[in-house]
């Protein structure tokens, strides 16, 4: 799966989870860039990403993401 395609689908997930159609993400996006991305919303977000890509992150992974780029890396690794 291409990074570009993953980002396109991630944008939709983020827009749903944060209820804001203007949200877009890139490799560098972090929690502080998006209003409302707190630890509680993080759970909803990761679950929605897991559902979207039909994957499941390990416990360690869930806590290790520093930015959206890390999440994309993990998706690619799990998909291959």
């Amino acid at each position: 799966m291409e990074r570009k395609e993953i980002f396109k689908r991630l944008d939709e997930v983020f827009q749903d989870v944060f209820g804001d159609d203007s949200v877009t993400v890139n490799d560098k996006t972090t929690a502080s860039d998006i209003e409302g991305w707190d630890s509680l919303r993080h759970i909803t977000l990761l679950t929605a990403i897991e559902d979207e890509f039909e994957i499941s992150f390990s416990l360690e992974q869930s806590f290790s993401f520093k930015n959206v780029g890390n999440i994309v890396d993990a998706i690619i690794a799990l998909k291959n």
Binding site: D16, V17, G19
Partner: protein
């Protein structure tokens, strides 16, 4: 797309909750507001978010108090200012087996286990008592789900040292508490977990990562279950099940296949499934659900099908049968008119997606579950919680008879020319008295479901009604009406609050099934006479308009009140001086 109809769309409810909430809030402005305190033994944030969606869907706009993480016991036991000031209308205690602090060990004796069981039970019972005493409001408590593992394998359920056995015994005592405490409800998490699949439900990842007692994906179904209890308490259950016939109540098309050709009864598997479904529908009637038919059929074929010897349902089980070639949306409105009930309290079942779509598109607020395969019919109706039972009053049980008696009254009215003569021929007897404990449940129920003849639409819990009953400053009356066709039960309620020399009517409602019988006049007569006994000079009435109570807009004027104010929203205030009030003539014999 209806996220809330079973099978509910967990993934969208979680992922799109912000948008869904926004849509629900913008779609309607007819919410009742309720304050819900959620006391958790684990994380409750997502549970609260999902509960909010389901309650909004049911027309209840909640505000929440959430205990700090796992502080359910401390909050209940010692209180805190925020919770006290919040004054909850409902308390939901979300606890799970991990909140049981001590389990028996393999070396525990039977006696030690029994002592521990008692101690564990008391740990919970003490907070239920405390909360009930302090807040006097409905309490919803989760029962305990099964733990995710069984140290003793199959023996875990039978051996007193097994956790599964211990939890199952604890649940039994919890149910006994619920049996004797009327405002205490159990949310059957144990059943929900079984339906969801215990392994997925109790995925320990969610506990260790986020301190959720269940997996995130199962939270919408947990929230739905709690919301079902709450909407039932506040009288927002569905009331009528409207059924299509062909391929819904039996297999095949009675008009084409003939009565002998439809699939119903023990001969073929499909016939057995339809019989079982009919039996379930008949049992719904026994919990007070009204049944009606809306079918494209010649009426005689429809009746013949319903008289099938192997069908548990008979024509008499239905309070209205529309079998004709009208469009189903028209028929649906006709049924609502017949029964004098809001169409938004209907559920419609039909195997045909096009017919279902017509009802959905007409936007009546009818619930239209997807009935795609006959083997799923019972589950779809059952899990949707349309008719969630929180109280089973004797009135619920006799409702069907009452509606049938009403149909007979209509016939009599048609045969007697003059309306006054008709009223006399009914031989009505009314009991009008101060609230009595045995009617508290019924009175609370009425305040929550009467929409049309309801001046203030004040919604009350049983505790609210009890408080009014016990207050020195209230005059509270119920009216119960019987006639030659049967007992209508308690059908009218007035509660007036005394301030200085005046009685302010906080609540006045009447069930529409006794409209135009003169009971409202008899109630006012009784109220005036009680007010005089208390030495009061005036009665002040209030009318607060809603989309449904237009019929009583001029009620106070008809009763001889004088309008003293009206605001921009159409809220009106009325005054009646007691000195020159003369009692009204009715055809009702009054017992006081």
């Amino acid at each position: 797309m209806d996220y809330f109809i079973y099978p509910i769309d967990n993934k969208s409810l979680l992922r799109k909750k912000i948008r869904i909430k926004r849509d629900l809030l913008s779609k309607s402005d007819r919410f009742i507001d309720k304050r819900i305190a959620v006391l958790g033994g684990s994380t409750t944030n997502e549970i609260v978010d999902q509960l909010e969606l389901f309650l909004l869907h049911y027309g209840i706009r909640p505000t929440f108090y959430q205990s700090e993480y796992a502080q359910y016991w401390q909050d209940a036991m010692f209180g805190n200012e925020e919770l006290d000031n919040f004054k909850p209308d409902v308390i939901y205690i979300h606890t799970n087996w991990r909140n049981i602090t001590e389990f028996p060990t393999t070396s525990s004796s039977r006696e030690e286990t029994d002592v521990l069981l008692e101690k564990t039970y008391n740990h919970f019972a003490v907070i239920w008592d405390k909360l009930a005493e302090k807040f006097n409001c409905p309490i919803i408590q989760d029962n305990f789900d099964r733990p995710a593992w069984r140290l003793l394998g199959n023996s875990d359920i039978i051996d007193h040292r097994g956790r599964t056995n211990f939890i199952s015994r604890l649940n039994q005592i919890l149910y006994r508490y619920a049996e004797v405490h009327k405002a205490f409800f159990v949310n059957d998490v144990d059943y929900l977990a079984a339906c969801y699949g215990l392994e997925a439900w109790s995925n320990p990842l969610y506990w260790h990562m986020y301190k959720y007692s269940l997996c995130l994906d199962a939270i919408p179904s947990l929230a739905k279950s709690v919301a079902d209890i709450i909407k039932s308490i506040y009288g927002k259950n569905r009331k009528v099940l409207v059924c299509d016939l062909d391929n819904t109540l039996w297999g095949g098309v009675v008009g084409d296949d003939g009565v002998e050709g439809i699939r119903l009864g023990p001969e073929v598997p499909v016939g057995q499934i339809y019989s079982e479904f009919q039996q379930y529908v008949k049992e719904l009637k026994s919990i007070g659900v009204l049944l009606a038919v809306n079918s494209k059929n010649d009426e005689e074929n429809a009746i013949a099908g319903l008289n099938h010897p192997d069908g548990p349902l008979k024509p008499d089980d239905f309070v209205s049968i529309k079998a004709n070639w009208e469009n189903k949306d028209r028929n649906m409105q006709a049924i609502a008119n017949d029964l004098n009930l809001g169409i938004d309290s209907f559920v419609f079942i039909d195997d045909n997606p096009t017919e279902r779509e017509i009802i959905i598109q007409s936007d009546f607020g009818v619930a239209v579950p997807v009935m795609d395969k006959v083997e799923n019919y019972i589950r779809v109706l059952d899990r949707n919680g349309f008719f969630e039972v929180t109280t089973l009053s004797s009135d619920d049980l006799s409702r069907v008879e009452m509606y049938q008696a009403n149909a007979k009254r209509v016939q009599l009215q048609e045969s007697v020319g003059n309306y006054d003569d008709f009223l006399k021929s009914l031989h009505m007897k009314a009991t009008i008295r101060a609230f009595e404990p045995i009617y508290i449940q019924r009175i609370a129920q009425l305040t929550n479901k009467s929409n049309q003849f309801n001046l203030t639409t004040l919604r009350c819990s049983e505790s609210d009604i009890s408080s009014m009953r016990e207050s020195e400053n209230y005059i509270c009356l119920y009216g119960k009406l019987e006639d030659r066709f049967g007992d209508n039960g308690v059908v009218s309620v007035i509660a007036g609050q005394i301030e200085d020399n005046q009685l302010h009517i906080r609540l006045w409602l009447m069930s529409c099934r006794v409209l135009k019988r003169g009971l409202e006049s008899a109630m006012l007569d009784a109220l005036v006479s009680d007010a005089r006994v208390r030495g009061l000079g005036r009665i002040i009435g209030y009318y607060y308009p809603t989309p449904k109570n237009g019929m009583v807009k001029d009620f106070y004027s008809r009763m001889g009140f004088e309008k003293i104010s009206e605001d921009a929203d159409g809220n009106t205030t009325w005054r009646l001086g007691l000195d020159d009030y003369r009692s009204q003539e009715t055809a009702i014999e009054i017992r006081r």
